[in-house]
Symmetry: C2
Subunit: 117 residues, 2 copies
DNA sequence: GGTTTTTATCGTAAAATTACGATATAGAAG
DNA sequence: CTTCTATATCGTAATTTTACGATAAAAACC
């Protein structure tokens, strides 16, 4: 997460966090886990293992990635761990995407033939 | 893009497209290319190669991924190819994220101690 | 105490992604 | 027609990611 090309150094703090979130969500299993967590509202844990039909260690790994990206939060509940979508994280993601690439596509939908796009 | 677990089969068409976009954007180089394209507004091409300081073939590969995800559009302009952010694609992405996980975090920001989150 | 349950971590094999050079393609320019 | 320029594609090496089983850790339960 820190040997990511000189390119990344020109990014704002928010952009770096956004990129990390997108990377975490870029995996279809994790994408699906997010949906599942949002649906159940309440936190889950080994439930996700059954849901994904992947090995427990694999799921635990995916949950770690999502947690480190700030997309979910886990709380130890007895012997188990209870996860839920991070309201703050999701809010951040939505806000960032909403205002992402503001300079883009200012000209009309798609007319100009010269200057290509 | 089609051997993606049984999990993916329960997804809507829009969700599949969204997941594909997130996967494309999950790479920091491609994330950065999108920003660069948006900044320049006008389309570019070998310019991106200089910008990223990666091999031409590598950049071409990344552009292909972005193009296939519907995030950019390329138009052959003489011997070169001119790229720009896809207005439709970006609009789709923003719309989908905005309404993503609607069932999430309905309870207050973060109070409940029981039932974990 | 010991046992059971649930999860995290470790080590590793398999698979996918990324990056590169070399080559092929297409159009512009002479 | 030949040359030059700009990209795309191919084949492949290096890296990263993903998935698994085995093991460790922590709490509930007997």
């Amino acid at each position: 997460m820190s040997k990511d090309l000189p390119l990344i150094h020109e990014l704002s703090r928010d952009d770096i966090r956004l990129a990390a979130m997108l990377k975490a969500l870029g995996n279809p299993v994790r994408f699906r886990i997010m949906q599942h967590l949002a649906d159940r509202q309440m936190c889950i844990t080994g439930d996700i293992v059954a849901f994904t039909s992947l090995a427990q260690s694999t799921v635990s790994q995916h949950l770690k990635v999502l947690r480190e990206a700030g997309l979910i939060e886990g709380e130890i509940e007895g012997p188990a761990t209870c996860y839920c979508v991070s309201a703050e994280g999701l809010q951040f993601l939505k806000g960032q995407i909403e205002s992402w690439l503001p300079n883009c596509c200012q000209s009309e939908p798609r007319i100009a033939k010269s200057n290509c796009c």
